[in-house]
Amino acid sequence: MKAIIHIGLKPGVLDPQGRAISRSLNDLGFDEVVNARQGKVIEIDIKGKDTELAHKRVTNMCEKLLANTVIESYLVEIKK
């Protein structure tokens, strides 16, 4: 199985990186860009077949390690 975890800054948390990206795109002439945000995706290959269990376990991984829940939120997706 594969787990795909999307991690992004919580709304309201300063995203200096996103700001720099949108400015830089504007500078390059992409005037249509209003705003940019940068997040992470982590893809994990997992042994086993039980997707429900996997979802639980991966959520646990997020809480314990993968996401910094003080400033980040995450979304877990399990693919067979």
Binding site: Q17, A20, L28
Partner: protein, 220 residues
């Protein structure tokens, strides 16, 4: 002889590079702002300094490499202008396509700052000619993303053509083939992660870097 140092937002070794150039050439380099569209006339050697241009956001050196002044450098590099990038400057040069490969996050995932022993692989290059009696130098490194990567083909090419100039004796970042510094095919563009400009003063980091600046200046 006229030299220049480019300043991007959050370049932070621009002054250090300027000090080194003045020490070696006796003349203050021109400080060039990243928004300028053209280098001043008669500049014969340009340093892209270390630092954290644009905060290292997105990818180190990426945003800086798209600046107006780098577009001009790309043009002039093709005509043989001598350009060196140290640390973040090296990242900018690879991002601009002036040097092959890319610099990725250190293998240990941590910023690493320490004096590092380097082996001079090619001491006939324009940047190392003065070292011809010397095979080892110590320059400090200070970076988070100095893990040099190039695909097999590129690697074979640069190794085969003498473009690898420096190698780490004790690889601090996971760079492929222990590569610390390389030049382009023409030998005029050069980049390295270690900081030769931090090795020009016996009271601070040693003097092993002086010959590098002398080499390139005298080659012009």
């Amino acid at each position: 002889m006229r030299t220049a140092v480019i300043t991007f937002p959050a370049s932070n070794c621009d002054r250090d590079a300027a000090v080194a150039l003045r020490k070696v050439t006796g003349i203050k380099p021109v400080m060039v702002w990243h928004r300028d569209t053209e280098l001043p006339k008669d500049i014969e050697f340009v340093i892209i300094p270390g630092g954290f241009s644009y905060g290292d956001y997105l990818r180190c050196g990426a945003m800086a490499s798209r600046s107006p002044i780098v577009a001009d450098l790309v043009k002039k590099a093709k005509k043989g202008l001598a350009i060196a990038g140290f640390c973040n400057g090296f990242q900018v040069l690879t991002e601009a396509g002036l040097l092959p490969g890319a610099l990725m996050r250190n293998k240990g995932l941590k910023f690493v700052c320490r004096p590092e022993k380097l082996e001079i692989i090619n001491n006939t290059s324009r940047y190392t000619a003065k070292y011809n009696d010397q095979s080892e130098v110590v320059y400090p490194v200070a970076h988070h993303d100095g893990n040099y990567y190039a695909d097999k083909e590129t690697l074979n090419k640069i190794e085969g053509q003498g473009q690898v100039i420096f190698r780490y004796k004790d690889n601090p970042n996971g760079s492929v083939n222990d590569i610390a510094g390389i030049c382009n095919e023409g030998g005029n563009v050069f980049g390295m992660m270690p900081h030769p400009e931090r090795a020009i003063d016996p009271m601070h980091g040693g003097t092993d870097g002086i010959k590098l600046f002398k080499s390139i200046i005298e080659s012009i």
